[in-house]
């Protein structure tokens, strides 16, 4: 082993090594620099360290890649942000349309319910009228059917109610089918 290797293995003086790195980087304080340079003049180990550190520093500076942003970086960024700015406006318009649609649907639903109710009342009136007309026009029919007046009236009421319910359901289902409610 020659003296060159000996210096490599021992390394720099520990009380100066950090300062020597700063000396290489040019950031050593003016207060500290004279003492460090004085030591460096007489210490082969530290001289070797400075040489090595300078070499590594130069090699890193030359070797490490220094990529740059693409030329269209800002254009792409602003396009992306413009898209984000448009998004809330688009979302607000969609929300308005959705609210309008729901409101219209509500009106239609109420219309269907009213329609079905009126149809049911009309159907019940017709059924009730038919029963009443039968009773008035052919009182003998009640006796012929073997029914008392109370039973005939009850049967008439049941027919009226069934007609009313049937009409309501049929109307509602027919409208619901068309409107997909």
């Amino acid at each position: 082993m020659n003296s060159h290797d000996y210096h490599l293995i021992l390394g720099p003086c520990t009380e100066y090594d950090f300062d020597l790195a700063e000396l290489v980087d040019g950031t050593l304080t003016p207060e500290r620099e004279p003492d460090v340079r004085r030591h460096l003049r007489d210490c082969l180990r530290c001289q070797r360290f400075v040489q090595e550190m300078s070499a590594v520093d130069a090699q890193l500076a030359a070797t490490l890649p220094r990529p740059a942003l693409a030329a269209d970086f800002e254009a792409r960024l602003h396009a992306r942000i413009a898209g984000l700015q448009r998004k809330p406006a688009r979302e607000a318009a969609l929300a308005d349309a959705q609210r309008e649609f729901e409101s219209m649907l509500g009106t239609l639903r109420r219309g269907v319910r009213l329609d079905a109710t009126l149809n049911a009342i009309a159907m019940a009136s017709v059924a009730g009228g038919v029963v009443a007309a039968l009773h008035a026009a052919a009182p003998g029919l009640v006796t012929a059917l073997g029914l008392g007046h109370v039973s005939f009236t009850a049967a008439g009421a049941i027919i009226t109610l069934v007609a009313m319910a049937g009409s309501f359901v049929a109307t509602r289902r027919a409208r619901a089918g068309v409107l997909a409610l």
Partner: protein
Amino acid sequence: MDGTLQGHLAAGRHGRAFDLIVPEFRDRVFRLAVSMLKDRAAAEDATQETFVRVWKALPGFDGRAALGTWIYAIARNTCLMELRRRRPTVSFDDPDSHEAQAAAASIATGPASDPERDNLLRLLETLPANQQQAVRLFYLEDRSYDAVAAALDMPLGTVKNLLFRARKRLMELARPAEVEAA
């Protein structure tokens, strides 16, 4: 410029403030992203994402932290999220992994095969992640300790110590071959 920027921020003119922030910080954020992600394309994506987040959060910026500190924090978080997302497939802790080598090579801009350069990059990959990052950022930032300390939100002394240990270790790692040659 900073006064104008602060003026826009104080007046709530966030769009105009943002227009000044991007050119002021884009390269610094990009260099930080490169030092963390070690991949040019990923770093550019992270830089885009950082500024989108800055744009979204700017109305809530209260000025308690310096603007640069705030932007760097967003950038670091964005890069950390990207690293977390990659973790199942890429391990930078294992310098010999194919992915780590590919990532190191992906930011290469020099000649395809330079043994000395490749060797130095390979040795750098063997250092702890924080030392690697400090070294990369130090040289990307034209050897500015202050810029590294600001970007990594570390005290100046910590940055100097990281860089000292990293370069000393690189010297030691490169030495055996040199001693054998002697």
